[in-house]
Amino acid sequence: MPLEAPLPPIRERVAELNRRYRHHSAAAVLEHALNDPLVGPVALVSSFGAESVVLLHLVSTIDRSLPVIFLDTEMLFPETLAYQRAVSERLGLGDVRVIRPDREALFARDPDALLYRSDPDACCALRKSEPLARALEGFDAWITGRKRFQGKARAALELFEDEGGRRIKINPLAHWSPRDVQDYIVNNRLPRHPLVGRGYPSIGCRVCTTPAGESEPPRAGRWRGSDKEECGIHFLGGRAVPGPAPKTVIVTDTGFASDDWTGPWLTPEALERAGRGAALDIGPETDLGQLAGHLEALAMIRVNFPAFSDGRGFTIARQLRRMGYRGRLRAGGHLIADQYAMARRSGFDEVEIAADLAERQPQEHWLARADWQQGDYQSRLREGF
C-alpha cells in the first residue's frame, strides 16, 4: 500500500502502536500490525522451535504469503529441519525464506564449526544475527514469538518494540503464558516439534541446547553452564533490550501507593483455569458475558483504558458491579486526575497510573477528588436525597 507521507520515527510509532493495541489479543495485534498504516513491510522470523508453530499458525490464518524467515545456522537438529518443512507445508506458508550464514565469513571465522565452544556469542553473531540482519533489509518490522514468561530479559516485553530506531519488533505473544501456548497448540491440533516430547522445552542449535527439567525455566537448556540467555538477535549493541520497566503507581482515596499485586495477570482466554484469587486483565473489547460464573473467584479485575478520552471502561466497571462482582476493581491505562471521581463513582476501587503521570499530576491532584461521594447526582437520584 503506498503511503501518503513518510512514516514518523520508529520510537513514536512504537509508543502509538503499544497504546493502540495494548489490550488486543495476539490475533488482533497480528492482524492490525499487518494492515496498520504505521507499519511498513513485515516479516515473521521463526526458529521452527518448540512453540513456533503457534505464531506460524496465527499468521497462516491471516496472510499465508507473509515472508517467513527461518535461520538455518547449519548447527540445527535434523528434527528441526524436518519439522520446518512439514509445518510449512501443513500451514501452506507461501514465502518461507531459509537463510544461511555467509559462506566466506564462515570459512574465515569458524572453519571447524567449533567457534561455539570458545566464543558462543561470536558464533551466534556469525550464524544468526548477521544473516538475520541481511534478511531483514527492506523490512520495516519483524514478528517474533518471544514471551514475557521466557526469562528475566523478556519480563517487561511489550507488544511493539523499538529496535534501536531501525525497525519495529512485534511480539504478539508477549503476554501469553506457557499454558496459553499449550492450549493453542492442542485446540488447533498443531504438530509438535518432535524434541518437545524428549524434554526440550526450548530448542536452538544442537550443540548449545540440552533438555530442561520440569522444575527448570523453559530456556534453562539453552547455553547450559553459561550465563548467556539470548543468542543475540534480540540484543542491541551488545545489550539486552528489555521494554521499559512498567513502574506504576496505585491511586486510592488515601493517595499514592506502590502496587501490592505481584501475581500474574490473566487474560480472559485463560479464565477457565484460573484458580481462586487470580487477577484478570481486560480491555474495552472484552466480552463481559464470558466472565460470568468466574467473578466470584477473582481477587482483582483491571479494566484498561486505551486512552483517557475513551470512556468505555466506566461503563464496563458499572456493568461488572451490576453483574455482582465484589472484588477489587482497578482502572488501568491512561486515566488522569480529573477522572478520578468518575472512576470511583463507576465502581472502581483504585486507579493505576504510569510513573511519569504520577510525577506530572502529583498525589494532591488526585486527592482533590477523594471527595467523590460529595455532589453526586447519581446517588441522589438512585439512593435518596
Binding site: P284, S309, G311, Y377
Partner: protein, 556 residues
C-alpha cells in the same frame, strides 16, 4: 420554574472551583493541551476563530429575569456587550479571555446557571419546547422531565467521555417545536392506553453531514421509566459507538451499522437491568421538581385594553397576528420577541436588550423568559390586557419586529464570521434575504416560511429542516450556496432535498426571491403555505424557478 437547592448550588460552585484549578494546572503544565481540551469543553469553553468562546446552558430554554440580567452583566464585563442565542437553547459569548472564564462561570453560578456539558463528547444541555408550560396544545409540561434529565446527565460518571456528543430534546406537545427527530434521543410526550403520559422515544436523529430522522424505538415509554431507559440507550451507545472515526461516531451511525432491531434489543436488555436500580427516588425527585414548575398565579382582568389597541393600532395588530401563540388560558398569550430585526444578526442580543426583556418579564410575564431554538426570546405568560404596554416598550427598543414564523425569521449559524469550522458566511446571507424581503414588502403575503442557513456541513443552522435550506460551502476558495427544499423540523419531520447546483454569494438572495415568487404563483390560495404548496406539487416547479435558463434550454 426550577430553583437550585443547596445540592445544585454547591455542585456548580464546586465545579467552578475545579475548573479554575484546571486552568491553573494547564498553565503549570500538569495538564497537557490534549488533556485540558476535553475538560474545558465539558465546561463549555471552545477555541474558535478569534479566540475562546464560552457557551452557557439555558436548560430547556427557561430563565428568569435575574438570570437574564446576569447574562447582560457578563456580556458587558467580560465580553463585547452582547450574547448570541443558539439553536440549542444556549447563549454564547464570543470574546472571553481564558483567564476570565472562571470568573464568568462563578457569576453564572451565583444565579443558578452554568456552562456544564454544553460541549464535549457527552450528554449536552437538554432542550425542550420553548412554549412548555404555557402552550394550549400541551399534554403536560415537559420541563420537570427535562430538569430530571439535566440532573441525571450532569457529571454522569459513565458518560463524560462518549464516542461523540449526545443531544436530547423533549416536547410535551403533539406539535413538535423542539425538533426532537433531529436529536440523538427525541422524547415526544404521548398518552398511553390508560390515558397516562409517557414518551415516544426516537433514537439516532441528527443533521450534520449525514442528516437522518430519528427512528422510533419505543412508541410508548411510561414516564416513570425515563431515566433507566435513557441511561440504557447511552450506556449501549458508549460501548458500541465507533471511536476510530469522528464522522461515524454519532449514534445515528451506530444505528445504521448495527441495525435498529439489534440495537433496540441491546437497549431493552440493558434497560431491564437498569430499571431495578431506580427504585423510586428518581420519581420522588420528579415530583419535587414538578412542584417548582407549578403555573404562576394568573391574573383575572378585563381584555378591553387589548381589543381596543388591536382595533386602533394596525402596527400592534400586525404584531399580535405574527408574534403571539395561543396560551393555555385564553386571556393570556405567549409572546415571541423577535431577535431578527432587519439588519440584525440572528440570535444576537445586546446587554441593554437583555435587561429590558428581564424588566418586561418582571412587569408583565411572571418573571419568566424562554429562549427558542429559533433564536428568539419568549415571554410565555402575558395577560392580553398587558400586551399594548408590552408592545410599546418593545417598540421603543427596536424589539417589536413582527416577523415570527415568517420569511425573515431566519435561523443562521455564526458562519465564517466567527466559527473556525465554517466554510462560508451565513449571517450576511440572512441579512441580505431579510433586507430584500423588506424591500419587496411581501413578507405577510408569503406567510409562514422557515428559512435556515448553515455555513458548513455541520448544519448548526438546521438547513436540512428549513422549508428553504441554505448551505454555504467552499468551492475552490469561493463561497457557494446550495439550496435544499422541503425540510421540516416539526412532527411532520422531513429532511430537505438538494435542489441543484449551488449559487455564488451574490446570486443566493435573487435565487431565494425567485423561489418566493414561484410560490406566490403556484399556491392555490392565500391559505396554502409554502411548505404545503411544495408538498402538493413536489420540487419540480420550484427547481424550474431556481434554474430558469437551464429549463429553457431543456425545452428547446
Amino acid at each position: 420554574m426550577y430553583e437550585y437547592d443547596d445540592f445544585d448550588a454547591d455542585f456548580v460552585r464546586a465545579r467552578v472551583a475545579r475548573f479554575r484549578a484546571q486552568v491553573e494546572r494547564r498553565l503549570e503544565g500538569a495538564l497537557t493541551e490534549e488533556e485540558f481540551r476535553p475538560l474545558r469543553l465539558l465546561n463549555g469553553l471552545y477555541l474558535q476563530l478569534h479566540g475562546y468562546m464560552l457557551r452557557v446552558a439555558i436548560p430547556y430554554g427557561t430563565l428568569n429575569g435575574r438570570q437574564m440580567r446576569q447574562l447582560a452583566m457578563i456580556a458587558e464585563r467580560w465580553d463585547k456587550g452582547y450574547g448570541h442565542f443558539t439553536t440549542r437553547q444556549n447563549v454564547q459569548f464570543n470574546w472571553p479571555r481564558l483567564s476570565d472564564v472562571p470568573d464568568m462561570l462563578e457569576a453564572l453560578a451565583e444565579v443558578g446557571m452554568h456552562a456544564i456539558q454544553t460541549s464535549g463528547n457527552t450528554i449536552r444541555n437538554v432542550t425542550a419546547d420553548h412554549f412548555a408550560g404555557a402552550a394550549a396544545d400541551e399534554i403536560e409540561d415537559p420541563r420537570p422531565h427535562a430538569e430530571l434529565l439535566r440532573q441525571w446527565s450532569t457529571d454522569h460518571p459513565e458518560f463524560q467521555f462518549l464516542p461523540r456528543k449526545f443531544k436530547i430534546a423533549i416536547t410535551g406537545s403533539p406539535h413538535d417545536r423542539a425538533v426532537t427527530r433531529a436529536n440523538d434521543i427525541g422524547l415526544r410526550m404521548v398518552r398511553g392506553p390508560g390515558g397516562e403520559s409517557g414518551f415516544e422515544v426516537s433514537v439516532g436523529g441528527g443533521l450534520g453531514r449525514t442528516p437522518v430522522a430519528g427512528r422510533v424505538i419505543r412508541p410508548f415509554l411510561p414516564a416513570a421509566d425515563l431515566l433507566p431507559y435513557v441511561e440504557a440507550i447511552v450506556s449501549t451507545y458508549n460501548m458500541l459507538g465507533r471511536r476510530d472515526n469522528k464522522y461515524k461516531a454519532r449514534i445515528k451511525i451506530t444505528l445504521l451499522e448495527h441495525g435498529p432491531e439489534a440495537l433496540t434489543a441491546r437497549i431493552e436488555e440493558r434497560f431491564a437491568q437498569l430499571r431495578r436500580e431506580f427504585r423510586g427516588t428518581d420519581r420522588q425527585m420528579l415530583a419535587r421538581i414538578r412542584r417548582q414548575f407549578a403555573p404562576p398565579p394568573f391574573e383575572e382582568k378585563p381584555l378591553a385594553p387589548y381589543e381596543a389597541a388591536r382595533a386602533a393600532d394596525p402596527v400592534f395588530r400586525a404584531w399580535t397576528d405574527t408574534n403571539l401563540t395561543p396560551h393555555r388560558r385564553a386571556d393570556h398569550a405567549i409572546v415571541t420577541v423577535s431577535l431578527k430585526a432587519p439588519g440584525a444578526t440572528p440570535g444576537d442580543a445586546t446587554s441593554a436588550q437583555m435587561r429590558l426583556l428581564a424588566d418586561l418579564a418582571g412587569k408583565y410575564g411572571h418573571d419568566e423568559l424562554r429562549i427558542s431554538h429559533e433564536q428568539n426570546i419568549i415571554l410565555p405568560h402575558v395577560h392580553r390586557a398587558d400586551l399594548p404596554a408590552l408592545h410599546a416598550a418593545l417598540r421603543g427598543a427596536g424589539l417589536a419586529t413582527a416577523n415570527i414564523g415568517l420569511a425573515s425569521d431566519i435561523i443562521a449559524c455564526p458562519g465564517m464570521d466567527y466559527c473556525a469550522l465554517a466554510t462560508a458566511r451565513s449571517i450576511p446571507v440572512a441579512r441580505g434575504i431579510a433586507a430584500r424581503i423588506g424591500e419587496l414588502k411581501l413578507e405577510h403575503e408569503i406567510g409562514p416560511l422557515k428559512i435556515r442557513i448553515s455555513g458548513c456541513i455541520n448544519a448548526c443552522g438546521h438547513h436540512h429542516v428549513g422549508h428553504i435550506g441554505i448551505l454555504g460551502l467552499d468551492r475552490a476558495g469561493v463561497e457557494n450556496y446550495q439550496i435544499t427544499l422541503g425540510g421540516d423540523g416539526t412532527e411532520t419531520f422531513a429532511i430537505g432535498k438538494r435542489a441543484g447546483p449551488g449559487f455564488a454569494h451574490d446570486e443566493i438572495v435573487p435565487a431565494v426571491e425567485r423561489l418566493l415568487r414561484a410560490y406566490l404563483q403556484l399556491r392555490r390560495d392565500r391559505r396554502e403555505t409554502f411548505i404545503e404548496t411544495f408538498r402538493r406539487l413536489g420540487g419540480a416547479p420550484f427547481r424550474a424557478a431556481l434554474y430558469p435558463s437551464k429549463d429553457k434550454a431543456d425545452a428547446a
